[in-house]
């Protein structure tokens, strides 16, 4: 018993360490890499994070990826995104009650909902134009497998692209594979409760707060203003541009990082 367990642990450790990577081409390699990352992911939220990151990497044309979770009482959440703009695109769908992520998570099963031209999409008269206004023109959502045990979740993996028709007809294949990983992670524990989602939101708040603080600092240094003034300016710009404060802050700090690459002009 003990030796079996030790053997199993050793196998798993070896796998995690990458010593058993067999051949089979770049796709097999990518898959092994993802599986290893998933094994190492300590929490459900981390698994979901890995899934959206992998989808962003392997699906050609994918600019943004998110996961939608829908609770039995019809509340929608976006626990993970590759970029905050994806959370905004999801939110518009939750609010208007239309769009692929809402449809896919209301119809758990092998559903694949897509649009190749959101600006002219007649199925979603409110979400389509709004998404196009934000610069996103095609979308693909695949349903997560529903959780058999209570609490019953359904959900979707959502892939957004800036270009019309950018997501290939077979893009749903890797998306479904990754959605399965996400479903397994969610089903692997009876502990995916509301608390988990609250925790995910709390952790996002932690990181958002850091980036807002950093953006304040960037503005203070650039303009020689105080912290309160910098925050007011961020807040005002966020309202004027209709961009969430966190997204704007991320933009401000990212621009600053880009500036690193430029030679000093003074």
């Amino acid at each position: 018993m003990t030796t079996d367990k030790a053997g199993w642990t050793a196998d798993r450790e070896a796998f995690r360490g990458g010593r058993e990577l067999s051949g089979g081409g770049p796709l097999a390699g990518q898959f092994a890499e993802l599986t290893r990352a998933l094994l190492n992911a300590p929490t459900v939220a981390d698994v979901l994070d890995q899934v959206v990151t992998a989808a962003h990497r392997v699906i050609p044309g994918a600019d943004l990826v998110s996961i939608t979770l829908r609770t039995a009482d019809d509340c929608f959440h976006t626990p993970v995104v590759t970029n905050v703009v994806a959370a905004e695109l999801d939110r518009i769908q939750y609010e208007t009650g239309e769009g692929p992520c809402v449809e896919a998570s209301r119809n758990p099963g092998p559903a694949e909902i897509r649009s190749d031209d959101l600006a002219t999409e007649t199925a979603w008269p409110r979400f389509g134009p709004e998404a196009a206004r934000l610069g996103f023109h095609s979308v693909l959502s695949v349903a997560l497998a529903p959780n058999a045990r209570p609490p019953r979740y359904s959900g979707a993996l959502n892939v957004y692209s800036r270009r019309p028709g950018a997501l290939a007809p077979d893009a749903h294949e890797p998306a479904l594979l990754l959605a399965t990983h996400a479903s397994l992670a969610l089903a692997g524990t009876t502990a995916v409760t509301r608390a988990d989602l609250t925790v995910a939101q709390l952790h996002r708040a932690l990181e958002s707060r850091d980036v807002i603080g950093q953006a304040k600092g960037v503005l203070m240094a650039r303009r020689g203003i105080g912290a309160d003034e910098a925050f007011d300016e961020l807040r005002r710009a966020s309202q004027d541009l209709n961009i969430k404060l966190t997204a704007l802050a991320r933009l401000v700090t990212a621009r600053n990082a880009e500036a690193d690459l430029l030679p000093a002009d003074d």
Partner: protein, 236 residues
Amino acid sequence: MVDGRRYQRLWRLVTARARGRDFSGWAGVVCVVAVEDVGVDGAAISLRSSGRAQELAAASGSWARGLEELQYSAGDGPGVEAFTTARPVFVTELDRAGQRWPGFLDTATGLGLAAVFSFPLQAGAVRLGTLDLYRREPGALPADRLADAAVLADLATGALLIDAASGEGASWAQADLPGHYDDVNVAAGMLATALRISVDDAFLRLRARAFSSGEPLLGIARSVLDRRLRLDLFLD
């Protein structure tokens, strides 16, 4: 296994305490009960993440708060380890802890810390943060007190979730209110812009400065914000 009666007794202590006039969230009450019931000198609850982000949710007093801040400054310490490993971390004689937590240990013993008991706060499958119990006397906790501490860690988890969800929600649960370590982030943003380096790099330089000067990271950050510290001191 959670002992039902122990749980009930501690829950009653917490709810009785929460009727006090200075109630400002359940997490704070759990810290107060931890100090009184477990018999330690300080208790603190921090939200932690796998990255640099942390938030101080509650502390029983300034000593415990300082020790939490020190873990943030150093990026290591018993709470950080309990969170990362998902296991409780007990150090009963801190001055014999050797090379563990190089950034934390010396300063902590200097502040009078002799023993520490850190519990990961687990909400379902995910970890939220830690309950850190600090004591000025070395030595283990009696088994009975240790069992109480483990139950209080459970209550602390619930306390955080309730605080975050109730009413407007606790300030630490809201992304657009400045957190306990806001000044450090602002200073990192300033320094990054002034020196044309990344925010991560700026953070590391602030931390290095705190480490070499023995001043807390928040103090260094505030000196940068008040422009009391010349930014070129942070150049390589």
